[in-house]
């Protein structure tokens, strides 16, 4: 049965207090108002001159994604598609492929061959980052993602991959000698070994 009783909330139980009409404020108080606007002119402004000075974002800011690498340069992505499945906006497309001894991109069995994020769809919720089992996918603080065409806003794997740092080698290359994917996962590999360099 429809309940037509008025909803009981805190507001309904509060007794209304009539507001006293005090009339116009005294001249001094009005002068105070003028002083507020006058003095504000000489205070520091809150505006950032954006393109010239970029305001720092919070460290946890959800920006453009990044596909991370192991310290020897191998990719962390294993092509499991969990990120794509987690994505509520259906912005991620992944195609996995098996690593071979001749062409190894990541430690272990599989790697992500195709990895696309459509930034026209992405809502920067970060669920993909939570879903990633290898911490391959994280988010950077970069937020300047505007562009002039739709295709430019579909980021490919090359656009998303983290840059090679000191001690990293461009894959494909073999795994660190004597290490398997579990060692990689635990962080036992600190940098590339000379035997990993391609001839």
């Amino acid at each position: 049965m429809a309940n037509l009783e008025p909803k009981k909330n805190a507001l309904a139980n509060t007794e209304a207090v009539p507001v006293e009409n005090t009339g116009p404020a005294s001249l001094l108080q009005q002068a105070k108002g003028f002083w507020v606007t006058f003095s504000k002119q000489f205070q520091k402004k809150l505006t950032y001159n954006y393109p010239e000075e970029k305001p720092p974002v919070e460290p946890r800011f959800h920006g453009r994604h990044q596909l991370n690498r192991h310290p020897d340069g191998l990719e962390k992505c294993i092509g499991c598609e969990l990120c794509a499945w987690a994505c509520p906006a259906d912005a991620i497309y992944v195609e996995g492929e098996s690593n071979t001894e001749a062409e190894r991109f990541s430690p272990g069995e599989r790697y992500g061959k195709v990895y696309q994020i459509n930034y026209l769809r992405c809502i920067f919720c970060g669920l993909c980052v939570e879903a990633c089992p290898t911490r391959a996918l994280t988010m950077t603080n970069e937020y300047e993602l505007a562009d002039d065409s739709r295709t430019k806003l579909i980021f490919e794997k090359e656009d998303l991959l983290a840059p090679l740092r000191q001690g990293m080698l461009q894959p494909p290359h073999p795994m660190y000698p004597g290490m398997d994917e579990t060692n990689y996962y635990r962080g036992d590999v600190k940098q590339a070994h000379s035997s990993q360099e391609s001839k």
Binding site: M1, L4, P6, V36, F38, K40, Q41, K45, L46, T47
Partner: protein, 409 residues
């Protein structure tokens, strides 16, 4: 030689040159004023304002003007075309015209001619300014009416009612200036203030009323009810676009500068220097007086901006009440006092004047006392008042159930 006599000797080409200078001055001042307003309002609100176009954003208004000119010019199908086109021209034209009688400098030499920077010095110069302001209202009314749309019509009516009401208050506050200076010519009013107290001090109540009615007269915040965007979209110029809109914009800002110039002329000593700095008036062959004139005008313009940044818009009925029931009656009483004092000071002894002033002060105190008492009485009466229960059916308040719903299964 008075200003009028000096100007009478002007050859035709000099008059043309002066008209050109005044036109250019008005335009440049408006461009700078719009920029300054946006910057200063920004500063007052803890932001920077436009600072992209040109150094410090100085060319912002120019860029806006170009943008306005390049936009599509729309004439609504319901509009009365001729009047619709004519209205902004009337507004802008009238706005420029009031500058003709503003004395901007003392005696100077322009192109080898001894003259003053004033196009003409009419014997009724101030009335001319008021008349031109009223012609400007035609632009607003016609714009509102010819748009063939509701909001512009309402905005136009509001605006005209407002300008006309506050012009009465403004005109009355000028009367005491006329009484004291003995002239309606702008040049002579400035001359009458030279070497004495400015009328802003001598006729302080008139000055205050003039400053208040300045805001009503120019449709500026806190009296910008004609453009109350929450109620009327953009008021009388809702249907206007492109250059026609730019003309209205121009007219509004020229009016502000013109009315500030009039205030300077009537109450702030015109082009004369501040007390104690009279020696500067002969600098640059007399041209330095223009600096004092501009300093005062721009100071008033700053005040316009400051008030806009500080005060919220007031309600229309309060605004009209204030104009008709406060400013005008007060002004009339004040004019009587001024006139009597003036006559007494010219014809009778000092004692009579002092006695009269004493009587006025006593009357003012009595009036204030009676007003306070009646207010207290009204407050008591208000407390006792209990509204009778209405003897007709009224809809229930949303918190009370109107009927019970029977569940029929």
């Amino acid at each position: 030689m008075t200003n009028a006599e000096l100007i009478a000797n002007d050859p035709g080409w000099l008059i043309l040159a002066k008209a050109g200078i005044i036109f250019a001055f008005a335009l440049v001042t408006v461009l700078l004023f719009i920029w300054a307003e946006r910057r200063i309002l920004g500063f007052m609100q803890n932001r920077l304002g436009p600072n992209r176009v040109g150094p410090f954003g100085l060319l912002q208004s120019l860029a806006d003007g170009i943008k306005c000119a390049l936009k599509e010019d729309i004439i609504p199908s319901g509009a009365d075309k001729i009047v619709f086109v004519l209205a902004p021209a009337i507004s802008a034209g009238a706005a420029f015209m009031s500058f003709a009688v503003m004395p901007a400098t003392g005696e100077v030499t322009l192109f080898g001619q001894k003259t003053v920077m004033q196009l003409t010095d009419l014997p009724v110069g101030v009335l001319y300014v008021l008349a031109i302001a009223s012609v400007g209202v035609y632009g607003i009314v016609l714009a509102g009416w010819s748009s063939g749309s509701t909001y512009p019509l309402l905005g136009g009516l509001r605006s005209s009612a407002q300008v006309i009401s506050y012009e009465v208050a403004m005109g009355l506050s000028l009367v005491s200036v006329f009484i004291y200076s003995g002239s309606m010519s702008t040049g002579e009013i400035v001359a009458a203030q030279h070497g004495k107290w400015w009328y802003a001090v001598v006729l302080f109540p008139s000055f205050i009323i003039y400053v208040i009615s300045m805001f009503g007269e120019t449709n500026r915040a806190p009296f910008d009810l004609a453009e109350a965007e929450g109620e009327l979209v953009a008021g009388f110029h809702t249907e206007y676009s492109s250059l026609k809109f730019a003309l209205f914009f121009l007219a509004e800002y020229i009016n502000i500068v013109a009315i500030s110039a009039l205030c300077t002329t009537l109450f702030l000593g015109g082009y004369h220097a501040f007390p104690g700095l009279g020696f500067t008036e002969s600098w640059l062959g007399g041209w330095f007086t223009a600096f004092w004139f501009l300093a005062k005008v721009y100071g008033l313009c700053y005040f316009f901006i400051w008030v806009r940044g500080t005060l919220p818009r007031i309600r229309y009925d309060q605004f009209m009440k204030f104009g008709w029931k406060v400013l005008i009656p007060f002004n009339l009483v004040w004019i009587m006092v001024v006139a009597t004092l003036r006559v007494l000071s010219q014809n009778s002894s000092r004692t009579a004047m002092i006695i009269f002033a004493g009587v006025i002060v006593a009357l003012a105190m009595l009036a204030s006392f009676l007003y306070d008492k009646s207010k207290a009485k009204a407050a008591i009466a208000e407390d006792d008042f209990v509204a009778p229960a209405p003897n007709f059916p009224v809809p229930a308040l949303p918190t009370q159930p109107t009927s019970k719903v029977v569940n029929r299964g």
